[in-house]
Point group: C2
Chain length 152, copies 2
Amino acid sequence: MKKSVDRLSLIKSMSQQCIAVRIRLLNRMITNIYDSALSPFGVKLNQISILVFIYLAGEVGYDALCRRLKMEKSTASRNIERMKKKGWLKIATVKAERKKALKITPAGEELLGKVQEVWEDAQEKALSLLGEEGTDVLCKIANGIWKKDKAR
Amino acid sequence: MKKSVDRLSLIKSMSQQCIAVRIRLLNRMITNIYDSALSPFGVKLNQISILVFIYLAGEVGYDALCRRLKMEKSTASRNIERMKKKGWLKIATVKAERKKALKITPAGEELLGKVQEVWEDAQEKALSLLGEEGTDVLCKIANGIWKKDKAR
DNA sequence: CTGTTATAGTTGCATATACAACTAAGCTCT
DNA sequence: AGAGCTTAGTTGTATATGCAACTATAACAG
């Protein structure tokens, strides 16, 4: 009897306290806010974040992109492929087939310009969903992870 | 000149403050913690969360599941299909073809029993990644969203 | 210089997610 | 009862994600 009671209460905490379930929920909701705001432009937040990174970095290697954005190389590979097709990115390096360096195109910069406004709207909606405190804490945690990574 | 400066600083804030990028990062890291902990059992957190919900609810309709877990019906549909195939779930209702009620199977309960330990490990790792405060805030936000939904 | 090793990037496979179009089954109104 | 409406669930398409296997190329060791 004891054992089944324990099991039940543990399963209840899996339901009531699971961190992953909660962050996944928020992830879905927030990703949605941004992706639907961006949908008129035929792009999603993920690709915008890649574009922003490349815009600021000037010319980045593949590996740097994956490390900084903490994106799996296969995800990056496929995204870059799609973005090249849409004309937002190009490969800057000619010499080496390997070690591709990525660069934003004029069309990519234009896209960034166009989405700024909807990004701001989305950011505001996300802020009101998470609240000031929640947003603050979240950003601190994420920034901490990035900083730690850079130091490495 | 002014305009391009504004653009640059806005793009910088897209890089440095975007909530979606941050929550997506944490989502990937945390999902990873749980999924790799669960991988010996051939299941991922998402399906476990469905199973837990159905276990606690006894017998649930499809719609209730989607509403409570805030899961898109197509995602739910395909997950349930896979879980039926693995024998963890079954459809309880016979009468109506529509309005399927879901029920956990003995194999499903057994699985829940087996994964409890690794779930606890993963939960602890996630806690130390987010910190006490972060976890607290996160849970409060998510629970608030659920409560609001229930009241509806 | 050549064979081995390390590394960059691609591709296959599986799950998760969302939206839209579709199907089917129950419900309602006349 | 039959026509149209509503709702449940499925399926198609696209992106995101992760792991593992593969390919091609660069670097290195002898």
